[in-house]
């Protein structure tokens, strides 16, 4: 994919029909299918109870009617779905993916890790104000609220839902920085208009095929985005400094993780934990009975299951450099361990050393896969 860079490129202003942004986006996607520009699109659809959404691969335009790409809930990262589809080879036909920023960033990392192929894929990024946890979303629906509407309205009123997932409250990437196309509504009257931006050659070709001229710029939108980013960055930094106090040191940290039941759900939900079988659940960690007793003997007491903190620290070592901060690990934890703030903070620090931003570009090499002769010279000296 040839990407031109930041999404704050120029775009084209689109009209929202019937004050229904969701339907307008759906009909745009249907248009892409109808014109043969895409053969299928990956979109979330509400389940029959409406209490959650699932990812669907849609080939028939009419099946897009119910889709809700705005639904503020993220049961699974679509990056993982794309990896399922394309790990063994490129998609044979043009496939559109509607993805949030964190999903696209995770996808870029997975592509670098050879777990997905971008060939023949058209990434359609969409602005994201945040998502509710799966449980909160379901609760809101059962209270007959429309989570999509209330989030968008809330933002318009200058307040964002206090139910947003912790990851989203501190997310600095509301707008996808990478995508063939981007659907944007932040900074616009979202019940009246949205914009469509091209971020690559491919995206421009599609706009041209739709006879859209993407030469407008939207200073107001840019301002709104930078304001939102700033607010959330501030919140993120506050969170980091709070977290540092809370969890610092072996004692605090280990008590945070003490309730871990070693289910590895965090790993299953993490779009970047691409291992088939986690090293920490491999036979390396299957012990003879005598070994357990030996370990118990060391301190006279042994927490079961063992090696939970080792698992989390080990996982951190493997993926912190690539962590996109989506927070799905925390959403998946049955013990309600506040994983996001820890992983995000650690990721931020490690990525900083290598000036690496996960998901920023396909060209930047993952710090674990490369090394240089002339770097880090101080490590290894007194």
């Amino acid at each position: 994919m040839d990407v031109k860079g930041a999404a704050m490129a120029r775009g084209v202003l689109m009209r929202v029909k019937n004050r229904n942004l969701r339907q307008s986006i759906n009909s745009l996607l249907a248009d892409l299918l109808n014109k043969g520009l895409l053969e299928a699109v990956l979109v979330p659809q509400p389940v029959s109870s409406k209490e959650s959404v699932v990812q669907t691969l849609v080939t028939e335009p009419e099946k897009l009617e119910g889709a809700n790409v705005l639904a503020p809930v993220l049961p699974v990262s679509s990056a993982q779905i794309v990896s399922h589809i394309t790990r063994l080879g490129a998609s044979p036909k043009p496939l559109g993916l509607v993805m949030r920023s964190c999903e696209i960033r995770a996808l870029i990392e997975l592509v670098k890790l050879k777990q997905a192929s971008l060939d023949n894929l058209v990434t359609i990024g969409i602005d994201c104000l945040g998502t509710y946890s799966v449980r909160d979303y379901a609760d809101m629906v059962s209270r007959k609220e429309d989570p999509t509407h209330s989030l968008l309205e809330g933002v318009k009123e200058g307040e964002e839902g206090s139910y947003l997932r912790p990851a989203c409250r501190v997310c600095e990437h509301s707008v996808p920085a990478f995508g063939d196309l981007t659907v944007g509504f932040i900074g616009l009257e979202w019940e009246e208009k949205f914009i469509l931006e091209a971020g690559s050659q491919r995206g421009e070709e599609i706009l041209a095929a739709l006879h859209l001229d993407s030469s407008q710029s939207f200073p107001q939108r840019e301002k709104a985005i930078s304001q939102l980013t700033q607010e959330r960055t501030n919140k993120r930094d506050e969170l980091f400094s709070r977290t540092r106090k809370e969890i610092s040191g072996w004692e605090n940290l280990s008590s945070v993780f003490a309730t871990c039941i070693n289910c590895h759900n965090c790993m299953t939900a993490c779009p970047l934990c691409y291992c088939k079988e986690c090293f920490f659940s491999s036979s390396t960690f299957e012990f003879e009975p005598s070994k357990y007793l030996q370990l118990a003997d060391r301190k006279g007491i042994l927490k079961m299951p063992t090696d939970t903190l080792l698992f989390h620290l080990g996982r951190m070592n493997h993926m912190a450099v690539c962590c996109v901060g989506c927070g799905l690990c925390e959403q998946a934890c049955p013990s309600n361990i506040a994983l996001l703030k820890i992983f995000k903070m650690v990721g931020h620090q490690v990525q900083g050393v290598f000036k690496y931003v996960p998901g920023r570009s396909l060209e930047e090499e993952i710090p674990l896969a490369v090394f240089k002769e002339d770097e880090l010279e101080k490590v290894g000296e007194e």
Partner: protein, 140 residues
């Protein structure tokens, strides 16, 4: 009660640091018996999980010994080690986990003295830092 004697786990690369430790031996250089050396083929084959496991088991320090930059028997293993240790130490820093307990040092086959000095220095530093707090905790 005597002074606190830290326990240090050492991972020594086969070609340089392990040979440096041998030379310290044949030269009868005396250093404190606080290190438990483990021979590995290359500093680039030391998994962070080993280091974490040592710390979680209560080791007071972990030393990784490799060939000097440019000298790696396997061309570039020490550069990889340097990155991995950096990542581990940054994680530890972020989590306030006393990253000074983990050190990587370049010790060549002819540097018996450097090996002895490194172990002595690390022992006294760890003594000053005090026991690894993990040793007191059972809920790790």
């Amino acid at each position: 009660m005597g002074q606190f004697e830290p326990k240090i786990v050492g991972f020594l690369c086969n070609w340089c640091s392990y040979a440096g430790a041998d030379l310290a031996g044949t030269s009868r250089m005396q250093y404190p018996p606080n290190i438990r050396p483990i021979r590995v083929m290359c500093s680039g084959s030391v998994d962070s999980a080993y280091i974490l496991r040592a710390l979680l088991a209560g080791a007071d320090g972990v030393l990784v010994g490799g060939c000097h930059p440019g000298d790696c028997h396997y061309v570039s293993g020490n550069y990889k080690a340097r990155r991995r240790i950096t990542i581990l130490k940054e994680i530890m820093k972020a989590l306030g986990l006393e990253d000074e307990r983990v050190r990587i040092r370049w010790i060549s086959a002819s540097e018996g003295k450097r090996y002895a000095d490194t172990v002595s220095r690390m022992t006294s530093d760890m003594r000053e830092l005090g026991p690894n707090p993990v040793a007191r905790l059972w809920w790790t």
